[in-house]
């Protein structure tokens, strides 16, 4: 043993060794002890440690999905509370609660218990209003999150599965919402159920049987409320949570996409680790979302069921409107003209109702879910994409998205045609006709406008790289011409990386129709179709500036420089000058419109 007289810690091998770490505090030891106990039995330390170090990229638009997730959790929480007081029964009772105007009125137990939650349970109304606002917020956030994913191309390989899961979640969410707002059995929601029965009844052959199956007999019956309840609190939430878990699990496995930027590549994720930054930000954001929804529930009334009265199939309130997410289907029903209903051999086919009521909803989500596969077929691109695209760099996709949003919006606005007619003092017939025409005319216009804007923005990006930033300084030449001085540099600055980072694109070429022996190729027609679509997507693509183009632009000084890549014919030209002295300026000529390939 050592003869050293000074004390040495037990774990120090040599003299002068210092303990590797300060001894943990009592509290930390206790936590460590508990964690150790769990780890001894589960081996959780490894995955938990991995998760805590996981990196998430930061961008405001990535919070949209978070808002949706948190709103859904708030719905689950408040929904569980509501089940303690809500009675899912259509059995009739006579109301004797504290809402005086309805005392003595015969109504369903569902409606009476909703009134009790609103007027006789302390804090019941705030929970009910939080539940409804969170549901609305959930679907808004989900839709905008979907827009973000669509317009940035985040659905591309390897995330197609998650896009499909997301589409199913979006569809389930609105069905869940419909089932939920139908539960109170007030006049408004009952009218919604009446319309739903009418929709289902138009299904060919089995329509009237289907209605009797759903309602357990003739409309309205007493079965629909308990059945909707089972769907709303059990069946659909179970599927929602299952799919949501898969959705978020895939985000973890595939790692989050990121926007392009200096240092951000397709092979890395740049951001903050879960512990502590992301946990604090995301965890804090949950409380912010919850707090904002609570504030809305405190200050903005939502769905005042007591004002509508109990459901009765013979009266109706003017201005009957579904919650916003069902609006587009309702709008479609308002626009479809009656003459579409046909009768033959005594059978009726209601083509004035079916397309809006039974076909539209699944069709919208089917098209949505199919889009990544369509685009992949057109581009033939089988690579993984983890870098997001700026919407301008995919002009045709952005145009398609905007056209779809326009069509959806026309239907959504059409579902408010009666409100608009009253508020704006317009004829409801004119409004309906306008929406009917608008549904077909506005989306193509929106497509074209969006695409042109995207192409212009891309040209502007090229211009910024090639000819520098506009300084706002106006220079007058000796012969009297005015120029604006552009700040130029021969090297690409890091800030300009975003303008050139995207990949150049071009339409696919058709391969020869006949092989070397003169035999026609079998896939010929399919190839031609694909080439046509590829031209539709990429024919007038504006590709990023290449180093050679930048060098040429800097080199040639005052000569005419094309913003377009050299291939373009009558490209808009910009007269520019290099860093020269007298003519350090660029003059933008009103050239011909950009040539198309």
């Amino acid at each position: 043993m050592s003869t050293d007289t000074t004390a040495r810690p037990a774990d120090a091998l040599r003299e002068g060794d210092t303990p590797a770490q300060a001894p943990p505090s009592g509290a930390a030891r206790r936590i460590g002890g508990l964690a150790g106990w769990v780890d001894d039995r589960t081996g959780a330390a490894k995955p938990v440690g991995y998760l805590m170090k996981k990196v998430f990229p930061d961008h405001w638009s990535f919070m949209l999905g978070e808002i949706a997730m948190y709103s859904m959790i708030i719905c689950l929480l408040t929904g569980a509370f509501l089940t303690f007081w809500f009675i899912p029964s259509a059995g009739q009772t006579v109301y004797d609660g504290s809402f005086v105007p309805l005392r003595g009125v015969s109504m369903s137990e569902a409606y009476a218990s909703t009134l009790n939650i609103s007027f006789d349970i302390k804090g019941g109304l705030i929970i009910r209003q939080i539940h409804h606002w969170a549901a609305l917020m959930f679907i808004v956030a989900l839709v905008v999150h979907m827009f973000r994913v669509f317009f940035t191309g985040a659905f591309r390989k390897p995330r197609e599965i998650n896009w499909v899961i997301g589409s199913v979640l979006a569809l389930l969410a609105i069905i869940e919402g419909f089932a939920g707002y139908s539960l109170p059995d007030d006049l408004l929601s009952g009218t919604g159920l009446r319309a739903m029965a009418g929709f289902v009844q138009t299904a060919p052959v089995i329509g009237s049987y289907l209605v009797f199956a759903i309602f357990g007999g003739p409309f309205p019956g007493e079965m629909i409320i308990p059945r909707l309840y089972s769907a709303h609190i059990l069946l659909i939430p179970a599927i929602l949570i299952g799919l949501f878990t898969a959705h978020i699990g895939l985000v973890f496995v595939q790692k989050h996409t990121q926007f392009p930027g200096p240092g951000r590549t397709n092979e890395n994720v740049v951001g903050y680790p879960v512990m502590p930054v992301y946990a604090a930000k995301a965890g804090g954001f949950f409380f912010i979302v919850f707090g904002i929804i609570a504030m809305m529930a405190a200050t903005v009334q939502i769905n005042p069921v007591w004002a509508y009265g109990p459901y009765d199939p013979s009266p109706v309130t003017a201005g009957s409107q579904p919650d916003w997410y069902m609006g587009f289907a309702d709008g479609a029903l308002r626009l479809l003209p009656g003459w579409l209903e046909v009768t033959a051999f005594g059978f009726t086919l209601s083509l004035n109702i079916m397309p809006g009521a039974l076909i539209l909803l699944p069709a919208v989500y089917l098209l949505l879910g199919a889009y990544p596969f369509v685009e992949r077929w057109v581009t033939g691109d089988t690579r993984e994409h983890h870098l997001l695209q700026r919407p301008r760099n995919a002009p045709v996709r952005t145009g398609i998205g905007m056209a779809a949003i326009t069509a959806y919006s026309v239907l959504l606005f059409a579902s408010g045609n009666d409100i608009m007619a009253i508020k704006l003092g317009m004829s409801i017939n004119d409004l309906t006709q306008f929406f009917r025409i608008g549904f077909f005319v506005l989306p193509p216009i929106m497509f074209w406008v969006t695409k042109r804007i995207c192409l212009s923005l891309q040209r502007r990006d090229r211009d910024t790289v090639l000819h520098g930033r506009e300084t706002g300084t106006i220079v007058r030449t000796p012969d009297g011409r005015f120029f604006e001085r552009h700040e130029t540099s021969t090297e690409l600055t890091p800030e300009q990386w975003i303008l050139v980072q995207h990949e150049p694109v071009a339409p696919i070429e058709i391969e020869p129709n006949v092989d070397e022996n003169g035999v026609e190729r079998k896939a010929h027609r399919k190839d031609r179709r694909r080439a046509r679509w590829s031209r539709f997507y990429f024919a007038d693509a504006v590709n990023p500036v290449t180093p050679a183009e930048l060098a040429a632009a800097q080199h040639h000084g005052a000569e005419h420089e094309a913003i377009e890549p050299s291939a373009s014919g009558g490209a808009r030209s910009i007269e520019s000058s290099s860093t020269g002295e007298a003519a350090a300026a660029a003059e933008v000529e009103s050239g011909e419109p950009a040539g198309r390939h």
């Binding site: 003739p218 092979e267 954001f285 690579r383 017939n429 070429e509 180093p547």
Partner: protein, 382 residues
């Protein structure tokens, strides 16, 4: 990137063209003509810029106080919620500017709860933004696909498993198993699909005006029924119906007594959903249809109130033009033209109820509806 990566026609890589050979970021940079790369190089992560709180301890202390204040607001909000829960009665209302008269309890509980939540939320985010490390971390990605060996292994395991279970060699097992698995769910499907509801039979085409309850399996025989005011449940004399007035009508025997709530038909809402009728009086001269005049009485006409589109009650009557408008989808019916559709998504006119007066001068039905009321369905013409 991926092993399966090859240059595909039409992939987001320019084909060999005036731009030279296609190059991707992940393939490094090929030196092209003039010694210039085909694409620009990623400049790499910018240098980290330190925040005030990183450099200046007093700024960090300020941030600490701000975070603590926010958490403190949360504590106060939560305590205030508890106080409000017990202190404010449900009947109390208060005037809040911008909202108006509102429930004091709801307002106070919501606002205090929101403060309790927002304090935590903003505090945590502020903490993360000012004091937690803001240097970005880089994590590498790897291709999603498993290695070829792993894939091969799965195939092998499946093959071996199949072979060792002998399923490939014993077709009888294979086919019967397929059949059994294909069929086993049928009892469950049949149970739920078969038992959800009864068959509608003819009940969609009948109403209480046929003489009584008209649910599935019920076959009422016609008898004239008085037109009763809804909800008063009193009969209507012809002279009570003045021009421009409109009555909500139910058949005699359907509604319970409005005072005692007793009597009436057992399936009240189901019968109401089909039997609701609107009664109006028009100047006989403006009625354009002879059938409409014949089926009415002295300009008094009765039409089904259930919209032929999807079944909402046609609730709005325009007295001047005699138009009926459905508030759900704006189908518009012209009562002077036998309630035919003049605008909107409905196809068929509202069915007319043939009426007359009985010995005491009360309006009664002369026949049931001649067609199914309400929305269309496949077999309605049968």
């Amino acid at each position: 990137m991926n092993e399966q990566d090859t240059t595909h026609p039409g992939s987001e890589v320019a084909p060999p063209s005036e731009h030279g050979t296609a190059v991707r970021l992940d393939q490094g940079h090929v030196v092209g003509d003039g010694g210039l790369p085909e694409r620009f190089t990623n400049p790499g992560l910018p240098a980290h810029v330190a925040r005030m709180a990183d450099l200046d301890e007093s700024a960090a202390r300020r941030a600490e106080k701000q975070v603590a204040t926010l958490f403190g607001i949360s504590i106060l909000g939560t305590l205030a919620f508890i106080v409000c829960y017990f202190a404010i009665s449900l009947e109390t209302t208060i005037f809040v500017p911008g909202i108006g008269e509102t429930s004091a309890s709801n307002f106070a509980l919501g606002v205090t709860m929101a403060l309790g939540l927002l304090g935590i939320g903003f505090g945590a985010v502020h903490w993360a933004k000012t004091l937690m490390p803001d240097e970005e971390v880089v994590e590498e990605r790897h291709p999603m696909r498993a290695s070829d060996e792993s894939r091969q292994q799965v195939v092998e395991t499946l093959k071996e498993g199949g072979a060792s279970s002998q399923i490939t060699r014993r077709p009888m097992i294979k086919y019967t198993l397929g059949g059994a698995l294909g069929l086993f769910a049928l009892p469950l499907v049949l149970q739920v699909a078969g038992s959800l509801g009864p068959m509608p039979q003819k009940s969609n085409s009948k109403t209480f005006w046929n003489g009584g309850p008209s649910g599935p399996g019920q076959d009422p025989t016609f008898k004239p029924l008085r037109l009763m005011r809804d909800p008063e449940n009193t009969p209507i004399k012809a002279e009570d119906v003045t021009i421009g007035s409109v009555f909500h009508v139910m058949p005699e025997g359907l509604l319970p007594d409005p005072v005692t709530g007793t009597g009436g038909t057992p399936n009240l809402l189901e019968e109401k959903a089909k039997a609701a009728v609107l009664l109006m009086r028009l100047d006989e001269n403006i009625i354009k249809s002879q059938k409409q005049r014949d089926w009415g009485y002295d300009g008094i006409v009765a039409y089904s109130k259930i919209c032929t589109h999807v079944g909402c009650p046609v609730g709005l009557y325009e007295q001047q033009t005699h138009h009926l408008l459905c508030p759900c989808h704006q189908s518009t019916f012209d009562v002077t033209q036998d309630a035919k559709v003049i605008f909107g998504p409905a196809k068929r006119a509202l069915p007319q109820l043939q009426i007359t007066v009985d010995g005491e001068g009360y309006l009664v039905s002369a026949a049931p509806f001649h067609e199914a009321v309400g929305p269309s369905f496949w077999e309605r013409g049968r």
